[in-house]
């Protein structure tokens, strides 16, 4: 599978435990499936925070009304999933997103 660095984004927070749990799963997914996530830390980087806020409509809808971390966003399909996920769920989501494109 071709890696597209700008396609899938992981919005995360440095002090967010869910993000800490998901990080090795994202690394595993990248290793096993060849996909790439652009990791944007939002609490210590205002530019990244602005990027997340600009996607508020999609992300709030996925998170239940707020901008939750981690959020996984597909910039081409304009779709997101929010919060801690099982590895298989994240894998299916990422592969389906890339397939759609």
């Amino acid at each position: 599978m071709m890696a597209d660095k700008s396609r899938l984004i992981m919005f995360w927070g440095r002090e967010c435990p869910h993000c800490r749990i998901m990080m090795p799963l994202v690394e595993r997914l990248e290793r096993e499936e060849g996909v790439k996530f652009q990791r944007l830390e939002v609490w210590h980087n205002e530019e990244n925070a602005k990027k997340m806020r600009a996607l508020a409509n999609v992300i709030k809808s996925a998170c239940g009304g707020f901008l939750g971390t981690p959020t996984f966003y597909d910039s081409q399909g304009d779709e997101a999933i929010c919060g801690e996920q099982q590895y298989e769920v994240l894998r299916e989501w990422a592969l389906a997103a890339l397939k759609m494109g």
Binding site: R14, E15, H18, W43, G83
Partner: protein, 146 residues
């Protein structure tokens, strides 16, 4: 007699007194007050800038969260590593962004809307509270012995 600031975790009403009101006079929530610090009380009431005022240390924050959970239907998460990371984030967010914003959610940059993210928040309305028995970030979990 020493007085403290207290914040209603449902509507962000600020009280200054010896002890917190049992019922919030603004929204009617019961046992919803958490001990607040000078910066939080000042910023919420609009008389202090984000870079002013004294804040809780991480160890004071830990005591405040324990105190808040005391005699409620929830406790602090027994996963101390998780709790310590969250406390680090909450303390850091207050220093850098003016309020104790949840480290697991991002602000919109709109003061009124972002008040809903101040920790402890009104987590009983969250889906994760209903489905998993914990707040979004996992700081507080429902007591299993009830």
């Amino acid at each position: 007699m020493r007085k403290y600031y207290f914040r209603c975790t449902v509507c962000n009403d600020i009280h200054f007194g010896v002890s917190p009101p049992m019922v919030c006079p603004t929204c009617g929530a019961t046992r919803a007050y958490v001990r607040s610090d000078e910066k939080e009380a000042g910023v919420i009431q609009g008389f202090m800038a984000k870079d002013e005022g004294k804040t809780f240390t991480a160890s004071e924050m830990s005591e405040v969260f324990e105190e808040f959970a005391n005699q409620q239907e929830f406790v602090l998460n027994p996963d101390t590593e998780r709790v310590n990371l969250l406390i680090e984030g909450v303390v850091e967010n207050e220093k850098r962004h003016g309020l104790k914003y949840c480290p697991c959610r991002m602000t919109m940059g709109k003061f009124e809307e972002d008040l809903a993210l101040v920790c402890p928040c009104n987590f009983r309305v969250q889906k994760t509270w209903e489905e998993k028995g914990e707040c979004w970030c996992g700081l507080f979990v429902k007591r299993r012995d009830l």
